[in-house]
């Protein structure tokens, strides 16, 4: 049934014939008071994984399935030049040992080592949205990319299109699934579950349209970087202390 409805919707999008006037379009984009973004401080992250645990329970992502909306990666760069990286179960249970990718690392071998939390970048130019054949995924006026579960036909194009690998197939609903910045929380003035769960302030939510937002000020005034800038997706999750080895 969903498939049928989706096909019907895509067959002739009459709404596409209604063009916004230039001022209408500008008002729609610039008039918005809210544009959600994110700031990750990789120095502060200790790899406890409480953010992943909280995200899964808050958003009803099957706890033991190997899928997650957010995860934490560990990077260990050895003095001999080797790079090891892992994220066991997305770091749901944290990092508790020195073994990485089957290698028992010793302290004196380590050149650099750190944790990098990942989540949806809520790109300004989301490639995952462009490829949707039925209009089931879209960018809300405040920048958050959402999936309409009742319209998604589960084709998986968006999962392939995301350069950051944040989308996956929901094992229960059988549709594409992704981080929503806890849309139900941020729209009530709360923080996302992962931000609240982080004891160290490694994760922060920002309203990029508000120059007085303390997190936005950090993004605007300090040295931050984004992931895979060269793809032109304009990701809106900013990172402090990003390393060239992080992908």
């Amino acid at each position: 049934m969903t498939t049928l409805r989706g096909a019907a919707a895509s067959a002739l999008p009459l709404a596409a014939f209604r063009f916004l006037t230039r001022s209408e379009a500008r008002a729609a984009v610039e008039g918005a008071k809210v544009r959600w973004g994110f700031l990750v401080d990789t120095y502060k992250c200790v790899g406890c994984g409480f953010c992943v645990k909280a995200c899964k329970l808050e958003n009803e992502v099957p706890y033991d399935a190997p899928v997650t909306r957010t995860w934490v990666e560990r990077y260990v760069i050895l003095k001999d030049g080797r790079m090891l990286a892992d994220t066991p179960l997305g770091a749901r249970d944290g990092f508790t040992g020195m073994e990485v990718q089957g290698v028992q690392v010793r302290k004196r071998e380590i050149a650099k080592a750190f944790f990098v939390p990942k989540l949806c970048n809520q790109c300004e130019n989301p490639p995952c949205v462009q490829v949707c054949p039925v209009g089931a995924t879209y960018q809300a006026p405040d920048g958050v990319v959402l999936i309409d579960r009742s319209w998604c036909i589960g084709c998986g194009y968006c999962i392939m299109a995301c350069p950051y690998g944040v989308r996956f197939f929901h094992p229960v609903y059988r549709v594409a699934e992704k981080c929503t910045f806890c849309y139900h929380r941020i729209s009530k003035g709360m923080k996302t579950a992962c931000v609240d769960a982080c004891p160290f302030g490694a994760r922060q939510l920002a309203n990029l349209k508000d120059p007085n937002d303390p997190v936005t000020r950090v993004i605007l005034t300090q040295r931050v970087a984004v992931l895979k800038d060269e793809y032109g997706t304009k990701p809106q999750a900013y990172y402090i202390g990003l390393d060239e080895n992080v992908r």
Partner: protein
């Protein structure tokens, strides 16, 4: 000229008309391009409200204060004050209505998320007081000796 060209054309036009009529019934009224334009904003508007209506489960520390003042008071003055109660006890949802009790996790794996010592130079992890879980009183629960809410030692 007549039939063999026109007849299939009628069929095609009939099919197109049928799809257009069916579309009127199947596609919801609020389906359209909305604020972000055709490329990124083509969607069913009411889905935004559906996502906003999703159930909030994590209620943060303030929610516990009035009912568990002893644990709250102990915790808020300790070195563990930065940790949310729900990180260790699970989401409150509508506790104490449902669930009536939150879980109590006495496992060592809960504590070694932060306290298993990892010597990572540029990560704050190496600055947390750490232990080697294999050496530090193995096979005993941490809370036998440490107060999880106020672990301060001197």
């Amino acid at each position: 000229m007549r039939s063999h060209v026109l007849r299939p054309l009628w069929v095609v036009m009939g099919v197109v008309a049928l799809i257009l009529v069916a579309r009127q019934f199947v596609v919801p009224e609020d389906f359209g391009i909305h604020e972000r334009g055709f490329m990124y904003g083509y969607h069913r508007k009411s889905n935004e409200e559906e996502w906003k209506a999703f159930k909030v489960k994590y209620r943060t520390k303030d929610y516990c204060r009035d009912c568990h003042p002893d644990k709250y008071g102990e915790n808020i003055t300790s070195k563990h004050r930065i940790i949310q109660c729900e990180n260790c006890h699970g989401p409150a949802v509508d506790h104490p209505d449902s669930p009536p009790k939150l879980s109590i996790d006495r496992s060592r794996s809960l504590c070694i998320r932060c306290h298993a010592y990892l010597p990572y130079p540029t990560s704050q992890r190496s600055e947390i007081k750490g232990i080697d879980p294999g050496e530090h009183n193995p096979d005993m629960e941490c809370s036998m000796c440490h107060n999880p809410h106020k672990p301060d030692m001197g």
